[in-house]
């Protein structure tokens, strides 16, 4: 039995609409580009995207995150995570480390340990957590605990992208450890549509960095 033409047209239209809907629901991309006051790309900038429609704030289970310790440095230097994530701090150096933080978003201390079996740490409060090692003063790292599940960080080219964003309106902001000014001041509005990517650019002022030197002069107290 042949279907009436109207039914065929409706079926085809429904199919097309479903395809478009699928792309709309999870297909758009937000591109972010961050440069400093000299026009140079800024790596390790966290880009966080907060949906204005709460339905778009998908509550997925936070993934397990790893921050390694290699050559007496935290790897990565900046790690964005979703609030509620547990982070493991394996030690892949041949010396022991004592990882700690005094940050209000998370205070913790992993007593001196070697190997990769240190218990994971739960980060249940949004904010910036500054990591240190009590043995190696120059070791410093940052965890950005995001209250939105949509975040990424820029690479060496100063760019980052968030793919498969649901359509809707968002607030997009950035954070960098050396950024002069507040994170809130960087907030931009963005409307994510069906297929057209959203391009956002920032130019931020980076404060001078004063990281503790790893090597001390012969007259310095140095390490240990």
């Amino acid at each position: 039995m042949e279907l009436p033409l109207l039914v065929k047209v409706l079926a085809a239209a429904t199919g097309i609409a479903m395809l478009i809907g699928a792309r709309t629901a999870a297909g758009a991309v937000i591109y972010a580009s961050v440069k400093d006051q000299h026009g140079k790309p800024v790596a390790d900038t966290v880009v966080s995207v907060t949906p204005l429609d709460p339905k778009n704030a998908l509550r997925t289970k936070p993934p397990a995150v790893v921050i390694d310790q290699v050559d007496k440095q935290f790897v990565a230097y900046v790690t964005p995570i979703y609030v509620g994530s547990r982070v493991r701090f394996p030690n892949n150096d041949n010396v022991r480390h004592q990882v700690y933080s005094f940050s209000p978003a998370k205070r913790f201390d992993l007593p001196l340990y070697a190997g990769t079996d240190a218990p994971p740490v739960l980060f249940d409060k949004p904010g910036v957590v500054v990591l240190g090692c009590n043995i190696h003063d120059w070791m410093i790292g940052y965890i950005y605990v995001s209250e939105t599940p949509f975040f990424t960080k820029t690479g060496s080219a100063g760019t980052a992208s968030l793919e498969d964003m649901p359509s809707g309106d968002y607030l997009v902001k950035i954070w960098h450890p050396r950024m002069d000014g507040t994170e809130v001041a960087t907030t931009r509005s963005a409307t994510v549509g069906a297929v057209t990517p959203v391009n956002l650019e920032w130019q931020i002022t980076l404060k001078p960095s004063f990281r503790i030197p790893r090597v001390s002069g012969a007259a310095s107290p140095g390490y240990p």
Binding site: Q73, N94, V95, R96, Q98, Y100, F102, D109, L112, G132, N134, I135, D137, W138, P208, S209, F210, R211, I212, P213, R214, V215, S216, G217, A218, A219, S220, P221, Y223, P224
Partner: protein, 307 residues
């Protein structure tokens, strides 16, 4: 420049010193490097080129001898945490100094050190105190300077903020050299054994992420050894007198009590996280008994590497 200073030492003795140095260095590397792969051993090297415009601490212009010195140090230590706030470090170092002109002063040293450090709190900004003991044996090309050096230190410091780091140290040092025969009846010939107390204060200021200014002052009290030709002024207040052929056939080392004031300034640059390059200047002003005073200025360049 005295003739003996230019003459230096025999090739055979040089070969012996180099062979000893190589043997000890090889032993340290053979023992130390495998351990590096599985424990908290930390290895570092420090090299320095400096010019001392008054090596012999002489007061009179005619006695002053300047020289350029290259020194290198290989150090290795292990850290043992002792409870929450204390740590113990145990280590050793092998070092050598090479003089451009005063070959008799070329030396190699092998030493061991032990230190206990206490930190009040966690992190880079916690104040700390450290007590250290060390012993080192120095072997000179001119054997009469050979000595064992015992050193006790008490140091304390704190990183005040991201730019400023300050520390101070008190050191008591005893240098036990081989006794020399009495040249003058009734006056000891042990001029190369010395006892000193030293107080120093230092500050480091970060100009940016890689560049650091360093400042220091020094106050030292104790024995000073001044090498000069015989004169009544220095002879009458000397505690010990010995021949010092490294500086010349008519040169004598006089040990006398004195106080040294000094300051140092420098700038360090860290091109990579493991390296530190430095340029510095040190000025020392010593006032010894009997109105014997001398000064010395030491510009230097340095390279430090930590593995």
């Amino acid at each position: 420049m005295p003739a003996a200073a230019r003459s230096g030492l025999s090739p055979r003795r040089i070969q012996s010193s180099v062979a000893t140095l190589n043997a000890v260095l090889s032993a340290i590397l053979l023992v130390g490097v495998p351990d590096l792969a599985r424990s908290d051993w930390t290895l570092g090297t420090d090299t320095q080129l400096r010019h001392d415009n008054n090596v012999g601490n002489a007061g009179d212009y005619d006695d002053i001898v300047g020289d350029t010195i290259f020194d290198a140090r290989l150090s290795i230590f292990q850290l043992f945490p002792l409870g929450e706030n204390y740590s113990l470090s145990v280590g050793g170092d092998l070092s050598g100094e090479s003089y451009d002109r005063l070959k008799g002063l070329n030396n190699a040293s092998l030493g061991g050190a032990l230190a206990v450090k206490r930190k009040w709190g966690l992190g880079a900004y916690a104040p700390w105190v450290r007590i250290g003991l060390s012993i080192a044996r120095s072997d000179y090309n001119d054997d009469y300077r050979n000595a064992t050096v015992y050193r006790t230190t008490l140091s304390a410091g704190q990183r005040l903020d991201e730019r400023w780091n300050v520390w101070a140290e008190y050191a008591y040092e005893r240098r036990a050299a081989s006794g020399q025969p009495e040249l003058v009846p009734g006056i000891s010939g042990d001029a190369y054994s010395q006892v000193n107390q030293k107080l120093s204060g230092n500050a480091e200021y970060a100009l940016d992420e890689r560049t650091f200014l360093v400042f220091g002052f020094l106050l030292r009290y104790g024995d000073v050894v001044s090498t000069a030709e015989p004169s009544l002024g220095i002879f009458s207040v000397s505690r010990a007198i010995a021949a010092d052929p490294a500086f010349g056939p008519d040169e004598y080392a006089y040990k006398l009590p004195g106080t040294t004031f000094g300051f140092s300034v420098g700038i360090n640059y860290s091109p990579t996280s493991h390296n530190l390059l430095g340029i510095g200047f040190q000025r020392l002003d010593t006032h010894a008994d009997g109105g014997n005073s001398y000064t010395k200025s030491i510009p230097e360049i340095s390279w430090n590497y930590r593995f």
